[in-house]
Symmetry: C2
Subunit: 460 residues, 2 copies
């Protein structure tokens, strides 16, 4: 499992040998109905022959079967490319890359495009490297975007644990597995000429990498300006209009349905109502809590949601496979079941409900009926990556006391109103009780105190 | 005109400045109906602001207009990306790159993907370089594939003027403007394990380049084997079934409509009858004679032909713009009218008849109403590129005499039957008159003698 994946040029000859029957396949899937993400067709009676970690043939494969070939009968079932998550922060699932893979591989996710900006906020580039290193041995492919906005905001708002600028981005662009600059959240910086943001974008483009976007601003000239900088995607659309504006400028519109933010019902209308070409629309999670991964699923869940909203199943699968692969220029390796690509194939019992019976990754069966076949080796981390929450003292309830200008009675307070499943919040003013000069939380009305504690520099 | 084109990372900041109105555009096209090749929509009342050679904004552009801005009113007209020819041998037009540009720019072709294997057959890599060098100063962009099959056949069939192998391919892969390995015509070599062909494919893939195909063989396992090698396109389909088989394997199906070969009427049925997703279908000419360029046109003609056959105009334009750009991984520069891309924009009077009134390339108006605005500088060639037809003696009619076994009467002869507009030929046997022991041609029945004369090594 820790064997390095092949490059096509290293193995193409042996794939040709298998397709021609001069050598035998390691694995043949027989007589499935192929979800063809190129032509948007269902094609019946298709065999797939795999040699090593790549697909040698798609068609009729009897001549590639030898005594050592594992044959899986897929009659009456569907064959889909492994699902891709085009934008996810694994740290938001509060687990390691390995644990994440354990949860999502049985759900059919065979590759993820991660932006490890949470670990980078703590450990800088070294943290990004740790994620890459851990990922190397996994049957789930991990493609990395170098975080562009570390720290995420400005010194006025945040005490940063690390900083990443153009020089660090340039260094990381040379690492294997790095495919993009991570979401450029500082979009005001881009349109108003921030040196650091432009520096990072420029070195990324120069290295031929994709620049990932995050645009939550207006959809007029400013969005054009953002796109002109070279940013070519955005997962930050909460309405049909925002999604449409980005798609029309050629940005990949990533439709997000995670745990905290659920934009699909609105944004998918660019397909179901506006009927635009879906070629530059992808399905992504952004953030996904562990309990949701277990109970609802991962990309399989979003595909189901898209189908529920009226998207036809093949288009929904395109949005979670070939479209994402093309955006990141990885379609020579992933995103389709076709000759030369990695053997990442799902066998589905049903297309509309996306019921996955077998998950094949790198040409090996890794999960069956929702369960991993072989346990993944737990990762080990160096000591510098542990115990990074450094606070001056353990917080106590009294640290959260808020003094009121009166002793008893009630006062008006500012409240950050959460909009369920949305990234935006609402400014509310509510009445809260005061006792002994202190403002009292009201769990009944879901009014709680929140605090940010500095955890990098022992000042919090 | 000989100014080097910008890279996006060099100019992105100035594009952002224009989009935000902090700097002014050089050219603004106002109120056109945009052919949106991403979303497959027509969008009305769209302005396009261009700075230097790239697009800064697509939307409302009044704030980008300054005293020095050229404004073109496109009300009631259509805006399309410049057309791309995804596979063409300029040598087959029997003119220089400059002359070719003169003919096709007014027809809306702003970029061509050339495979200069004819000049390479004579001059080797040096010939390829000459084409690249000549192209540099032109307003038409020229992307080069390194010829993979030089010589085109085997020593038994052909006396070669030059040879290109893996080492030469590797050298050329480092040249600016080289984007692919040229059509791998030796498909038997690929599927039967020819060292040279695999060597060339491997170095091309290693350099991250596209490998162009040419498959005229059967559509079963052999085609899978060919695709598994890394070849990702084929323009050599003469039937719907051939086109479909390639598209289903994820190869870009290039629908060819040139001068010698006219495959569109049959192959376009993959769209009009099979209704497949057109994302990996492109329109190409392959070979185009000068008189046809002048009388019928170039890619504009093929788009018209596709529309005549029932393809909707936006899909037809996608097949000649964004699809081709994506295949060659050049969509960050060409293939769409969107921020950051080169200012290659066509203003069309009518969509269905593809009537082009203005051609803008690199942000400059280069043609109007079918005429170039400014003459292109004639190229100069080094002496080694001239007088390359070296024959022992000037051919005379007696060289074409064919002796018959009888003196007078008639004999049966083998005839290569031409199938009008098709690449295949037919083996015919015809009766021809014999006079004084010589077989006589019959122009009435279009039966002529043909000969191949060795022209490289003074042996012919």
């Amino acid at each position: 499992m820790s064997k390095r994946r092949s490059r096509l040029w290293e193995v193409e000859r042996s794939l040709v040998d298998v397709a021609m029957g001069r050598a035998k396949a390691d694995l043949v899937i027989k007589r499935g109905t192929l979800v063809n993400v190129f032509t948007k067709e269902l094609i019946e009676e298709v065999d797939v022959a795999i040699k090593g970690d790549r697909i040698a043939l798609v068609g009729k494969a009897d001549h590639t079967i030898g005594p050592g070939t594992l044959v899986i009968d897929a009659e009456g079932k569907y064959l889909s490319p492994g699902f891709l998550d085009g934008h996810v922060h694994i740290e938001s699932s509060m687990v390691t890359v390995t644990q994440f893979a354990r949860a999502v591989l049985p759900r059919g996710t065979t590759a993820v495009f991660i932006d490890p900006h949470e670990i980078a906020n703590v450990l800088g580039l070294e943290g990004v490297k740790l994620m890459l290193e851990e990922a190397k041995g996994l049957p789930m492919k991990v493609y990395v975007s170098v975080p562009s906005c570390v720290p995420a905001s400005f010194p006025e708002f945040e005490t940063a644990g690390a900083e990443i600028g153009p020089a660090e981005v340039e260094e990381a662009m040379r690492w294997e597995g790095v495919v993009a600059l991570g979401e450029v959240m500082n979009y005001p910086g881009v349109i108003y000429g921030d040196e650091k943001m432009h520096g990072e974008i420029q070195v990324s483009l120069k290295h031929g990498k994709v620049v990932e976007g995050h645009w939550a601003g207006p959809i007029g000239s400013e969005l054009s300006a953002y796109a002109a900088s070279g940013v070519s995607s955005s997962h930050e659309s909460t309405t049909k209009e925002m999604g449409l504006a980005k798609a029309r400028l050629g940005m990949y519109t990533m439709v997000r349905e995670g745990s905290a933010w659920k934009d699909l019902a609105d944004v998918i209308k660019i397909i179901t109502e506006e009927r635009i070409d879906a070629r530059r629309v992808c399905l992504v999670t952004d953030d996904r809590h562990p309990e949701d991964l277990i109970s609802e699923g991962h990309i399989d869940h979003i595909i189901r949601r898209a189908i529920e909203e009226g998207v036809d199943p093949i288009t929904a699968i395109q949005m979670a496979t070939i479209n994402t692969a093309e955006h990141f220029n990885q379609d020579q390796d992933i995103g389709s079941v076709s000759p030369g690509k990695f053997g990442d194939v799902l066998i589905l019992d049903d297309l509309k409900s996306v019921e996955i019976s077998v998950v094949i990754a790198d040409g090996k069966v890794v999960a069956k009926e929702g369960k991993l076949i072989e346990e993944l080796r737990p990762p080990t981390y160096p000591s510098f990556a542990k115990n990074t929450v450094r606070v001056k003292k353990r917080p106590t309830p009294s640290d959260l006391e808020i003094r009121a200008p009166i002793d008893e009675g009630s006062v008006k307070v500012h409240v950050i109103g959460v909009l369920e499943g949305k990234v935006n919040t609402k400014h509310l003013v509510e009445e809260l009780e005061v006792r002994e000069g202190k403002i009292i939380s009201d769990p009944e009305r879901d009014l709680a105190k929140v605090a940010v504690i500095e955890r990098h520099k022992l000042t919090g």
